[in-house]
Amino acid sequence: MLDAILGGLRLVATLDLRLWEIVALSLAVSLSAVVFATLLGLPLGAAIAVGRFRGRQAVIVVLNALMGLPPVVVGLFVYLLLSRAGPLGELGLLFTPPAMVIAQTILIVPIIAALARQAVEDAWREYEEQLRSLGVQGLRGALTVLWDIRFSLLTAVLAGLGRASAEVGAVMIVGGNIDGVTRVMTTTIALETSKGDLPLALGLGMVLIAIVLALNAAAQMIRDAAQRRYG
């Protein structure tokens, strides 16, 4: 196993072009998905947090449960949507990076929304009276709180990013793992492992972990800086 690890490190160090193309695509897909999921999930979570409507508790339970959506199931669902034989087949999106972004976005919206809902609801308890005293209602109040706790929402966003970059089931099904087109880190690791080419798989695995670590570290630094600056 040590050989495999060293082999992996060597591949990373020699900046193998194919490897870095795969890394670049993985980042592009997962980061895009995170951006869309954040734009959809944050307002959704905030709205549920401050809203008062019938069935609210049920909605919260369902949202939390959706955090555990199995990636393969999402992949299958999106595949059926985008397949030529399916309702959105005309778009010709199957087996392209946009399809992968769509699948991952669906996968992580519940995560970001559920975590945002919790964070906003906790913060709302602190802000609610003062905001209502100033005449700030409903949606505007939710957005104000959302913006005010933006740095702690980084945690929710990072959770979504972590899930997206780690999953293989959804991107495999809707992307097809096409060499040079839709092959990302996780699907390559799966492929190379099944071919018995462990050094490459390990090399990619290390890159993947390093990237996720780096992003988390950056987010922590941002949170600390914000804490010092804004209190």
């Binding site: 009276e129 005293s133 100033l134 005449g135 104000t144 804004y230």
Partner: protein, 236 residues
């Protein structure tokens, strides 16, 4: 003058969690005199203030202002100031924006408000890094900018040291002089005497006594108030 006062509470009561916190009461607040609401912890002062300000809906009865749309004409300062993670100036601007003040005037009015409470030096600083006393003054600046007819204050100096307390009381006095009706709850007798023109004494959710400040001190008429004053005296 088309003001929102007098405020009439008609048969207003409030119950929550199976307990009655405010017994049905009738109360009228007129313009002019600053009203201090006095009472022990748990007497219902905070709840009464929130009923008047509209943060809570009464279980029975109604809270009636003299004209429609009283929202902008009142403001409230809480025991613990709640500030947004923005500069002090931005917090005041936010309140002005929420009140519908035209964008062109917001900065000017905000700066004037900070000036009034002596916080001009802190305009650009993040509100949340200010001291407790400074944040409470900022809360008052936020209220001042709105030029409210009525200013509710719920134990505004309970968490502050004597120096900060004096600064806050000075600002409240300035509000009073400017014509804003002050409605303030406190359990400090000294503060009541310094700032109030009349006292409403609350005991277990009922108005036990209401009197001008000179008649209430040194000797309240009701037995509950008398007991309270006697017990509180060491801390006045």
């Amino acid at each position: 003058m088309n003001g929102i006062l007098p405020l009439r509470l008609e048969r207003v009561s409030f119950a929550a969690g199976g307990r009655t916190i405010i017994e049905p009461l009738d109360l009228t607040l007129e313009a002019g005199a600053s009203t201090v609401i006095l009472g022990a912890n748990g007497a219902g002062k905070s709840v009464l203030m929130r009923l008047m300000h509209g943060l809570l809906a009464p279980s029975t009865g109604r809270v009636a202002w003299s004209t429609e749309g009283p929202r902008r004409r009142q403001a409230m300062v809480f025991q613990r100031p709640v500030m947004l993670r923005r500069s002090a100036l931005a917090n005041v601007v936010y309140a002005l924006d929420a009140a519908g003040v035209p964008v062109g005037q917001q900065l000017r009015l905000a700066r004037e408000a900070l000036q009034e409470v002596g916080l001009a030096y802190a305009a650009g600083r993040p509100a949340r890094v200010l001291s407790g006393g400074e944040q409470q003054r900022l809360a008052l600046a936020r209220a001042w900018a709105l030029h409210p007819e009525v200013l509710f204050l719920d134990e505004p100096t309970a968490n502050l040291d004597p120096g900060a307390t004096r600064e806050i009381e000075a600002v409240i006095k300035a509000f009073d002089v400017a014509g804003t009706k002050i409605v303030m709850s406190t359990h400090s007798l000294g503060q009541a005497r310094r700032l109030g023109d009349e006292v409403i004494f609350l005991h277990q959710g009922r108005v036990a006594e209401r009197a001008p400040i000179d008649r209430f001190f040194p000797q309240p008429a009701s037995p509950e108030a008398a007991a309270f004053v006697k017990g509180e005296l060491p801390w006045a």
